[in-house]
């Protein structure tokens, strides 16, 4: 009997599988263990994590460390991935033409048109032409309402109001003649005075009709066709709001500017193409397909993408002592996304959804300092350390221990930094591919699309289902079922969307609905994992034909996700393939494939070398 431990050093976790190999080559699997990878995969920093996981696996197996014969480690090559986000559009309001935020409680209802006048100037205003009153910061609602009533009584028709504080209803309720009031305009002092303006507030539950319609604005301000063409973007920006203000200034405008985001150079083995990042993800990916297999890529210096590529190269060169010039970008994934951004020139903190392109890149070397790592391990643990076969081959061997899996089999390893795939043919040859873009990119998409600026929370939204707190004692889950509690929920959770993590419920401090957050989460997973799964299978499949693969086993940390495996199964269903989450050795789930494969590979090699033993 020989006691061995197979150790798989991954990007984020280090996994071990302890087993005993009999003289007849029969493997008895004893236990598995898991720890965080210390340092970057494939470097000597990994030693601490490996020592921990070997100790844990032996303890779980009930074996003494002294009995350990051999540690088998995988040929772990460092894979480093980088992420960058390039915003490619920008909304700019010039001359404070409009206010298009959505205050919780605007006051009154209807449309008011007139010249903008500050509250202080109201008493000096001559009767006659209608005015829109602008109420600055710190003015009490009683005084504002009193002054407006006094002006109206004097024959100065006040037809609408723009207010700094959260006072709209308080003012509207005290007016003798009802007018629309838009409040919470934080930069109210920047509203241009003496200009024609229109204020519109819709009834609760409705949206504005006049100011969101180009011809509505044209009617209000008596615009000619040329001027109407100019004002059209304002109308478009106000669609869907419950309240709005439009001020007619001489050259006021709202523009949708495209930001030059630089270009990306994709160098294939035979071709070299340049693509503009602001052309969008589809264009970038089409160009990439045109030059595949990718030999290297470069981003324009001074752009986010250029910076990201430089960062990835530098990190890899530091780790492997390779000159920066020799580090090659092996894959790029581009995803179209949108980012809520504060509108430049906005008066009330308006946000606009801007287009952006997210990019993931990956570098990989075959020259990992594995020998140094093995020597350090030998010194630390005092046992034989063998560097086993190629990672992909080992993963395939491990995957084959899943009950019900047969050849030809493909594995999809969904990790944090990269998506890997390998396929084995009936003759036992293994083809593998490593693609950029995985769990970390999904987290980053969720973070930016929801405007969270909190990667920790985005990570939780990715991993756990949502619910909404409907009272202090019950929550409604995503699928409509309710759950009740004996203890009241904390006040900061009240009426909020919550993410149900394994450490408790965490409120999501945004105004997004549960449906919206769910949709963003699922779309991010689709755009990264489903796209990459198909891209990977296409590249490893015999003659590029995915139908030739019989079985797909989904492995890796992201295979534990509650919806990703289902999405992938659905996406490959049309190819007539059996696809599912792996269950290594029938017990480990999608984990431990490489560690198990190492033990199986070592045993097979030993038995082949010593046929006499195997027979005896």
């Amino acid at each position: 009997m020989t006691l061995v431990v197979g150790v798989d050093i991954g990007n984020s976790t280090t996994e071990a599988c302890a087993a005993e190999i009999g003289e007849d080559g029969l493997i008895t699997y004893l236990a598995g263990a898991l720890a965080r990878t210390t340092g970057v995969k494939g470097t000597t920093e990994n030693v601490a994590g490996v020592v921990e996981v070997v100790r844990d696996a032996l303890a779980a197996a009930g074996r003494a460390p002294a009995d350990l014969d051999t540690i088998l480690i995988n040929e772990a090559t460092p894979v480093i991935s980088g992420l960058a986000m390039e915003t490619i559009t920008e909304t700019i309001i010039t001359e404070s033409t409009m206010i298009g935020h959505n205050p919780d409680t605007p006051g009154g209802a209807g449309l008011g048109v007139g010249t903008t006048v500050s509250l202080g100037e109201l008493p000096g205003r001559a009767p006659g032409s209608p005015v829109i009153c602008v109420v600055g910061a710190g003015v009490d609602y009683e005084r504002a309402a009193g002054d407006i009533n006094a002006a109206t009584a004097r024959g100065v028709p006040v037809t609408g109001a723009i207010v700094h504080g959260d006072d709209a209803n308080l003012i509207a309720n005290r007016l003798r003649r009802p007018i629309p009031v838009v409040d919470e305009v934080t930069l109210v002092e920047k509203v241009p005075l003496g200009m024609p303006a229109a204020v519109e507030v819709a009834e609760p539950g409705r949206t504005i009709r006049t100011l969101s319609n180009s011809y509505g604005i044209a009617t209000v301000f008596q615009l000619d066709p040329e001027q109407t063409r100019m004002i059209a973007p304002v109308a478009r920006a106000l669609v869907g709001n419950r309240s709005a203000v439009v001020v007619r200034t001489p050259t006021g405008d709202i523009t949708d500017r495209r930001i030059p985001a630089g270009s990306l150079t994709l160098i294939g083995e035979t071709a070299r193409r340049v693509v503009k990042v602001d052309a969008g993800a589809e264009e970038i990916m089409a160009t990439l397909r045109g030059v595949r297999p990718l030999a290297d890529a470069a981003g324009e210096p001074g752009t986010h993408v250029g910076g990201m590529f430089a960062r990835v190269r530098d990190t890899m060169s530091e780790l492997t002592a390779m000159p920066v010039g020799e580090v090659r970008i092996k894959d790029v994934l581009a995803v179209d996304t949108f980012v809520p951004q504060r509108v430049t020139g906005g008066l009330a903190g308006e946000f606009a959804l801007e287009n952006a392109v997210a990019l993931a890149a990956m570098v990989r070397t075959s020259r990992g300092p594995m020998e140094r790592l093995a020597a350090r391990l030998r010194a630390e643990l005092g046992v034989r350390v063998l560097i086993g076969g190629v990672e992909a081959d080992m993963a395939v061997l491990g995957a084959l221990t899943t009950p019900g899996v047969g050849r030809p089999v493909a594995i999809l390893d969904l990790g944090g930094g990269s998506t890997d795939a390998a396929v084995t043919t009936a003759r036992g040859q293994v083809e593998s591919v490593h693609l950029a873009g995985a769990g970390d990119l999904v987290t980053s998409l969720i973070d930016s699309e929801l405007g969270l600026e909190n990667p920790g929370l985005a990570e939780e939204i990715k991993k756990f289902p949502l619910a909404k707190a409907e009272s202090f004692f019950h929550i409604r889950m995503e699928d409509g079922t309710a759950r009740f509690f004996d203890e009241p929920l904390p006040p900061d959770a009240f009426a909020r969307v919550l993410v149900l993590t394994d450490t408790g419920m965490h409120p999501i401090p945004t105004r997004h609905t549960m449906e919206k957050i769910r949709q963003v989460r699922r779309a991010a997973k689709e755009r990264v994992f489903v796209v990459n799964a198909l891209r990977a299978l296409e590249q490893v499949a015999p003659r590029g034909n995915v139908r030739q693969i019989g079985f797909v086993v989904v492995l890796g940390g992201s295979a534990l996700d509650f919806e990703i495996p289902d999405m992938i199964a659905q996406a490959v269903a049309e190819f007539g393939i059996v696809s599912g989450t792996g269950n290594i050795r029938g017990t480990e789930g999608p984990r431990n494939a490489v560690a198990t494969g190492l033990v199986a590979h070592y045993t097979a090699a030993r038995t082949a070398e010593e046929p006499a033993h195997a027979l005896g």
């Binding site: 959260d166 709209a168 209803n169 409907e470 202090f472 009241p488 006040p491 009240f494 009426a495």
Partner: protein, 127 residues
């Protein structure tokens, strides 16, 4: 018998006041401003309330819980002699109020008492 029952219930309903948030406060002069701010917060959110002065000396939390029990909307606000405010819900345990704040937070407490009724997330209170 049946019709009698119906009649009684209708009469009952007429006697009842319209559903409001109940605000119970210690009637000291300093609380005038606090009450005005509380009321402004509730009014801005469009939720009706009624204010009741209370004679005995109680904490804001005790006043708020009593007020919540008296409210048809199950939401009450208490204001103690120092102007501290507390928002309570009748379904919560008496010792666990929904929110509590100093006199300077009165406007925000009014907003949030209303939001407790309407069922939308609380406003961050700037004091």
């Amino acid at each position: 018998m049946l019709s009698g029952d119906l009649h009684d219930r209708r009469a009952d309903r007429e006697k009842r006041t319209r559903p409001t948030v109940v605000v119970r406060y210690r009637p000291v002069p300093a609380n005038r401003r606090c009450l005005r701010e509380l009321g402004a917060g509730l009014e801005e959110e469009g939720v009706p309330f009624r204010a009741e002065p209370v004679g005995e000396d109680s904490t804001a939390r005790e006043l708020a819980y009593g007020a919540a029990l008296a409210s048809d909307l199950d939401v009450g606000v208490g204001v103690d002699a120092a102007g501290n405010t507390c928002v309570h819900h009748a379904k919560l345990p008496p010792e666990v109020p929904a929110l509590a704040g100093p006199p300077s937070a009165a406007r925000g407490m009014g907003h949030n008492a209303a939001r407790l009724v309407v069922g939308i997330p609380f406003k961050t209170i700037d004091q």
